[in-house]
């Protein structure tokens, strides 16, 4: 067992390793994760260092014979990591809340003991930071959601959820870049393009970018 204030490091079979930072889901911790990712991606045998939400996955070019060296390097790297402040762009995303795609808007409101309008205004109020990309091509995990609209992920994931869905999963929010399975609750949608494999960098957004949701319409 690890003590709560130390990072947790666990194996993902023989392909990868997961580093989970201690502490809050906030920007200062995430900035240290970005810094650790930049450092770790240069280590021998590491294929990619992929930031998650206050965590980091390292995929192996070749699985290390022994893990101790890598674990020590990660722990030391975390202690030394100075948060990098990425000067991100600010992007406005027009969102239609509710409707067929955002059909969970009402259930999120009921779960949180709020009105539909409250959920919309609470969701659209903050400036969100892109913490990490993941899930599917071009998808962004956003930091900065108000905890009042937290809702646990689904008991059983949906086989198909629409592209452009603006969803809540636990204390996180994000926008899907294409249709696919999801364990989150969709409260709205946007028509923006997040990913194109022919672009020099295939994803439109990078960690550190800032998103503002603009309420285009609310379908109650």
């Amino acid at each position: 067992m690890t003590t709560p204030d130390r990072p947790r490091i666990s194996l993902l079979g023989t392909s990868a390793l997961l580093f989970e930072a201690p502490g809050a889901f906030d920007l200062p911790h995430q900035r240290r994760i970005w810094s650790l990712a930049a450092t770790a991606s240069a280590w021998p045998g590491i294929r990619e260092a992929i930031p998650g939400i206050t965590n980091l996955m390292l995929t192996f070019e070749t699985p290390p014979r022994e893990l101790k060296t890598l674990i020590t390097a990660l722990n030391d790297g975390w202690d030394e990591a100075e948060g990098i402040a990425i000067g991100g762009r600010e992007i406005k995303l027009p969102v239609t809340y509710g409707g067929e795609i955002g059909s969970s808007l009402k259930s999120v409101a009921d779960h949180c003991g709020l009105s539909v309008d409250d959920v919309v205004s609470i969701h659209a109020a903050p400036l969100y930071t892109v913490f990490a990309l993941g899930s599917h091509p071009g998808y962004c995990y956003l930091g900065g959601m108000d905890p009042r609209i937290t809702m646990p992920r689904r008991q059983t994931p949906l086989q198909r959820s629409a592209g452009g869905s603006v969803s809540i999963g636990g204390s996180q929010t994000g926008v899907s870049a294409s249709p696919g399975p999801s364990g989150w609750h969709a409260i709205g949608h946007t028509d923006w393009t997040f990913f194109d494999p022919s672009w020099p960098t295939p994803a439109a957004l990078v960690p550190g970018d800032i998103i503002r949701f603009e309420i285009e319409r609310v379908i109650r």
Partner: protein, 325 residues
């Protein structure tokens, strides 16, 4: 080039996968049975990462536009080229205009057609594999349809027929049975969040592979395996093989088209040396997990590599002997 004449299920162009695009949210894709794809490519003298066609349902029919060597590996299938029967794990030769018909699958879940030179669709983000979710790679990022024309790269493959030892025989596990697939797993981050009896239940159970299993994931059915207290993780990277436990207690093994991140608790991860066995496990079949240590998992990978090395050596020797004649 080859032309697809008829398709039953979601057949697709796959190579070994797209392994370095996780930071853009792009998963690996790639052959569900990578051992079979490699073996087919070895038979043909191709680069092991050359793209082939993954065929999950039969019948499947195509025609060859030019003379070309090809191989069928993976599932046990009944097939005919120009009306002549050919076995699986076998290299054959098609004349221009010949029709290949793959009729039935006796065991396994996916058959791989590899061709001399490989299927030459464009490389997108480092791979020819079909990325269904992103709708790119493979042929227009989608499953194959009748009438599709697939280009093939130039080939040096020779004409002679040649068979190799199927992976499921050579790499057979001592305790395996015909109706149950046993796969080795390394425990994952949230294993300790399950109490002793629940952990024992996970190991003991023979899990049913539900019809909702596909290239995204294998959804299993059995007794509910639930952690002591509900676990909601912050989203983090995951890889094919990770076994998640959603709140309903029914495990999901993440496969090649899985999302690159998730937040459900992870009880274990299928080791790379056994992930192909999951890819060949049939819907409705049974699956059991066997705990293994990280070092033993590496040893299992070495065993898999040794099998492929042996194939490579044998194929080369046969070619040399033929060349001497």
């Amino acid at each position: 080039m080859i032309e697809i004449l008829s398709v039953t299920g979601p057949a697709s162009v796959q190579d070994l996968g797209r392994f370095d695009q996780y930071r853009f949210g792009v998963g690996t894709s790639g052959a569900m049975d990578d051992v079979a794809l490699r073996a087919g490519n070895i038979l043909l003298g191709n680069d092991e990462n050359a793209a082939g066609i993954e065929i999950p349902m039969l019948p499947f029919k195509l025609s060859f536009g030019r003379d070309r060597a090809f191989a069928l590996t993976g599932a046990g299938v009944e097939a005919e080229i120009a009306g002549r029967s050919i076995p699986p794990w076998w290299r054959s030769y098609a004349r221009a205009g010949d029709v290949l018909t793959i009729k039935a699958m006796s065991h396994g879940a996916r058959c791989y057609l590899t061709v001399g030179g490989g299927i030459d669709v464009p490389i997108v983000l480092g791979s020819r594999s079909t990325q269904f979710r992103g709708e790119f790679g493979g042929l227009h990022g989608r499953p194959l349809q009748p009438g599709d024309i697939l280009p093939c790269a130039a080939s040096t493959a020779t004409i002679g027929e040649l068979g190799i030892e199927p992976a499921d025989l050579t790499l057979a596990r001592a305790n395996a049975s015909t109706d149950e697939t046993i796969v080795r797993v390394v425990i994952a981050g949230e294993y300790d969040g399950f109490d002793g009896p629940t952990q024992a239940l996970f190991w003991r159970s023979s899990w049913k592979i539900t019809p909702q299993s596909n290239r995204y994931g294998y959804r299993l059915q059995g007794p509910a395996v639930k952690p002591r207290v509900p676990i909601e993780k912050r989203s983090h990277g995951i890889v094919p093989g990770v076994i998640q436990i959603p709140p309903n207690g029914q495990p999901i093994i993440q496969m090649r088209d899985a999302q690159t991140s998730g937040g459900y608790p992870k009880i274990a991860t299928v080791i790379r040396a056994d992930l192909w066995r999951v890819g060949q496990a049939r819907l409705g079949g049974k699956l059991r997990f066997e705990q293994t240590a990280y070092t033993d998992a590496l040893a299992a990978e070495a065993e898999m590599s040794a099998y492929l090395d042996r194939l490579r050596t044998n194929v080369r020797l046969v070619e040399e002997i033929r060349a001497c004649r």
